[in-house]
Symmetry: C2
Subunit: 309 residues, 2 copies
């Protein structure tokens, strides 16, 4: 569940005035490479069959994409700085999201794996409660909700297995100065709360922290990044898709580490083109190749070293 | 070769008005855990036997630490922001470095492995040329020299095997927007220039880039960071010390990756206390334990995954 949007984006490498965007769109395009996906979210009258066809890529189910009569689709406009590490939001129009009351189909309510993309915590909570069968639930959020809806956000965090946030947001949420301290703080928020934290670090990669493990993976190195929009959602799609694909095996450390690797590999395609362009055409072979490169990038064989006392 | 200094540092966790600092001091305390070290650099009359004793930790040779009569030791004062990611320099007094003319002893001139810490490129060049026997040379620098001594800096880079810089500095130096593009630009600067680039990313770790390899390692995760000053120099000390310790084996990918790991592990001790305090007392056992944790933190076993086309 999350936003389905039109985005206007300007980066040093070009611009798009109106293209398919939104967290749920990006997520689904990635997750659908690993497991069947159902999208939940509202769109307006202005959302056409061409956009709906993109959402359906790799048979993603759109029965719970609610087209609101007379409504307008969520709109976001932003501009990136020269090094793509900073961005300014020029406009956010919630439009159909403002009064969205999710009523999930029985099929979506019975989902085993649930991702709640960044949106009002109250909406995330509503969807969480409709999906009683979900055995693994993850959520994203953003600084805005920490600022204006902190209590609801903390309540929501208490009902998921995995919290994914940018590492600055984790620090802001907890008031702790390091990623590790911030993650451990959230892990301590109670037995029903998250058992794992994913700290997203943009171009520096991401880290997965549990009570007894720490895994770090770099972003896939690229010479050229065209549009970072949606990279976090694509990462989440790869992460959740891999976990959903391994439900028979269960949720061990190898599954989680592979989930981080697939999320990372898929995100690297996303940022090479504008919007959803790259993920529409990514091939299994290309994804597997980048996962293999990431496998090699983070490992070393220990040498026998004599340290001097 | 590099600065030996008195530092005044204020962080959210406390402050020190005057403590031993400087790139060469931090470097030597780390490298000496892996290989014998000789320090080259000037100090003033105000540099006492207590400080000299710290430099001599683990038998580091100080014959080329030149005590300038009537001179004052290099001084740096800085203050860190709340999350320790930003720092402001309050004062830099080059003092004895202003007119330093390095005259290395024959023993230092015959060094096999040479590190040129951040200082005026002209000084680095002078020392580089005195060390004709060096088979592996690395250097650090900073944004100041990119701004005011770019031509000398580029000339200097052309005479080393390894360039270590913060990744923002690599982008500033090359005008390239990503670390990978920036590193490849420097690698293309000519056959006598660097064959490897280390991009330092602070709390996010570091990356090693060669013509045909990319290795990334996270910073060792800590709940509490007290003073980041010197972390990059300690990293360099571990990196160079490991390489020096493996000269018989040569400079293969495993040696370089272990060098990154030892640099990372040693830097993590450095930031847990002020100045050089932690490295004076770090034990081989504790360092080996952190290298082992880093070994585990970056690796995953690939699962057999069926991707959907």
């Amino acid at each position: 569940m999350g936003s389905i949007a039109f985005d206007a984006v300007r980066t040093p490498f070009g611009s798009r005035d109106r293209m398919l965007g939104g967290a749920a769109s990006h997520f689904a395009l990635a997750a659908s490479m690993l497991h069947p996906v159902r999208i939940v979210g509202p769109v307006g009258d202005d959302f056409g069959e061409a956009e709906m066809a993109v959402l359906r890529t790799r048979n993603t189910n759109v029965d719970d994409v609610e087209q609101v009569p007379g409504g307008k689709t969520f709109f976001w406009a932003g501009v990136y700085g020269d090094d793509l590490n900073t961005r300014e939001t020029l406009e956010t129009a919630l439009n159909v999201f403002e009064h969205f009351e999710p009523k999930l189909s029985p099929e979506s309510q019975s989902a085993d794996t649930l991702f709640l993309a960044n949106i009002q915590p109250s909406l995330q909570l509503e969807v969480r409660r409709q999906c009683r069968a979900a055995r693994f639930v993850a959520m994203d959020s953003m600084n805005l909700w920490i600022d204006i809806a902190r209590d609801e956000l903390v309540q929501m965090i208490g009902e998921v297995d995995c919290l994914m946030l940018n590492d600055e947001e984790l620090r802001q949420l907890t008031g702790k100065p390091t990623l590790l301290a911030a993650a451990r703080e959230v892990l301590s928020w109670g037995p029903a709360g998250p058992s794992m934290i994913v700290g997203k670090q943009g171009e520096h990669g991401s880290a997965l922290i549990t009570a007894d493990d720490y895994f770090s993976i770099p972003a896939f190195p690229l010479e050229r990044v065209v549009d970072p929009t949606g990279a976090g959602d694509v990462f989440a799609g790869g992460f959740m898709g891999l976990i959903a694909s391994q439900r028979e095996r269960g949720l061990d450390g190898d599954v989680l580490r592979n989930a981080m690797a697939y999320g990372t590999a898929l995100a690297s395609f996303n940022v090479e083109q504008f919007g959803t362009e790259a993920l529409q055409s990514a091939t299994p072979e290309a994804v597997a190749e980048r996962v293999g490169a990431l496998w090699r990038m983070g490992r070393f064989e220990r040498l026998d070293v004599d340290l001097i006392r």
